[in-house]
Symmetry: D2
Subunit: 140 residues, 4 copies
């Protein structure tokens, strides 16, 4: 399911991620999205650490999750990430979370990010980052 424009990572559902309803707590999906985003960056030969070294960081400005089916303890999960939109001041990633064995779609979502400097001010996405993210952008 991975292509040049997307990247995915797989992991088992952790016991600590479940709640008393017997399923994965809904906040865990934001952590999985982020791990898919980290995997995306690693696969592109860079890492968020490298970004931050430049004194600019990507802060989450909006997040949306649509929950389709519950994830259960010990299941193998695949979380997929792609770049959706690149603007001068905003980058949008989108995500799909699957049960890796059955292929069932469990959740989808997006996160929108702005660039901030070390003292917390909003800034433009650096040109080289924009070019890079545009080159990663999906065509869907």
């Amino acid at each position: 399911m991975t292509n040049d424009q997307s990247e995915e990572t797989s992991f088992h559902v952790r016991f600590a991620e479940t709640d008393l309803m017997g399923i994965v707590h809904h906040s865990a999906y934001l952590v999985w999205f982020e791990e898919a985003r980290s995997a995306f960056m690693r696969a592109k030969g860079t890492s968020y650490t490298a970004f931050e070294a430049e004194g600019v960081s990507l802060a989450v400005s909006e997040a949306e999750v649509r929950y389709i089916a519950p994830a259960k303890y010990d299941r193998l999960i695949t979380a997929q990430c792609q770049v959706d939109e690149v603007k001068s001041r905003k980058i949008t990633f989108s995500y799909t979370v699957f049960d890796a064995e059955t292929g069932q779609k469990l959740a989808t979502g997006v996160t929108r990010h702005i660039c901030i400097t070390r003292d917390g001010r909003m800034t433009r996405v650096p040109d080289e980052w924009r070019k890079m993210f545009i080159s990663f952008q999906g065509t869907s």
Copy 2:
């Protein structure tokens, strides 16, 4: 800021909720929203536990968060919850998170919920729940 239609709860930011950017991780806001929702239910004289005893539970079907300003370790936070919309098959709550001392708005969001039975099937919101949630509904 609390009235008949909304309820709020206050707590200090926990060290474990921060991340290496020095601010609260964006997934923590869903946990805070949920705690505000729990406080809302407690204030209305019921609790989610009472609901679940009837064999029907509210599952999160969608969540949205808009991050406005970062929350920092040890700050006193207020999270506010109100019922936004009650339909035969869906209940929507909305949330505002403030810095309790400065009054600064830190985040807003909504969660949408469906009713599911113990075996995981979607069902209508029970009539008495609907009436109750409608009576709690904000007019904003």
Copy 3:
């Protein structure tokens, strides 16, 4: 239960802290211990933030938890913290977690801390901190 040598904080169990066994996940107690430690520092008129401003921080070197009875969703919990031992290179805190309504003891534990500089090297506990922590020390 608070005296000059100890401090406590109370909060409701969060839904997200439960796991599929229907009780609070065992890792949450370390977060509660830490929140009790933060409350202890706030009550003493200082905060961990103030410490860190001096360029030295307390890192956890050991943690132990003894689980006595399970905590359940929505229960009001009290977490108590006191200074147990102050050495030139190590500070030990101890904790008790109660059900705030029944008084039942749910867990006890200790955390041991060392001082580290910003570049991660171990250092002696600064003299003024040592004096301060000794003055807070319980006699039990």
Copy 4:
């Protein structure tokens, strides 16, 4: 590093697992220990889910962690689990957490578990479980 008596699992440090000190929060290690324990069970051809189906579950009665070196965001981590001791009423697992690339030991720990029935009473470890855990037991 895996043999018949131990099992390990590897994963990248998640951004959400870091705290404002720039390192992994100390509570995350209990989650990693548990994930190593899950991997251990999966590797032995069973899973905790299978256990629970019998109406008996393993509850954590004690946990200890010794933190040796900090784990950083995005590093590849290996968490290793083995059975340490099997008694009629208690099973002890021990853990080691490494940086998977440098081999540096980051933390060690143990968790002790008791058997409880669905209504929360303590019970003996079922004979077949005891035999199974003894057969997994390390000789170190």
